[in-house]
Symmetry: C2
Subunit: 65 residues, 2 copies
DNA sequence: TTATGAAGTCAAGTATACTTGACTAAATAT
DNA sequence: ATATTTAGTCAAGTATACTTGACTTCATAA
């Protein structure tokens, strides 16, 4: 699963900690998502898409569908 | 998180086992999703949306956004 | 009536998402 | 030169997604 989180965050000039606060997850979770350690839950994916006012498919893309 | 899985499956006249096979998950997982026991992973949500040729937001809806 | 298929559920186990706390390294500010 | 901020990472723990195997109940078929 690919995501554009790092780019979207950069566009908003947010630190990982600031993004984490808005999503109500830990800074380490944001870092792990950006560095591809794991994929978010569906719930968190919804929150992220909502925050950036995008569709889930715009933020996340299935690599091997 | 709400989902329309049961309706979508019914529209296709599939059993839970048949749907599970296509999604490559267990029958119990499909049942648990339909009966609201838990939400799918983002990966599985993508697979489900893909199978029914819908967007993720059309199949799943965040209850308390 | 008996058998079979489908849905629902439970227990116990494994895998993955997410947490807290701590530490390093690099960049930036003082 | 020193202090602070940010990103990245690790370990250990908790929460949730998903598995297998078994069992019950209901509906329909033989």
């Amino acid at each position: 699963m690919k995501n554009h989180l790092k780019v979207l965050r950069a566009e908003n000039n947010w630190t990982q900690a600031e993004l984490a606060n808005q999503l109500r997850v830990s800074r380490q979770t944001v870092n792990a998502l950006e560095t591809g350690k794991f994929d978010p839950s569906l719930k968190l994916a919804f929150q992220i898409a909502r925050l950036f006012r995008l569709g889930i498919e715009e933020v996340f893309q299935d690599e091997k569908p």
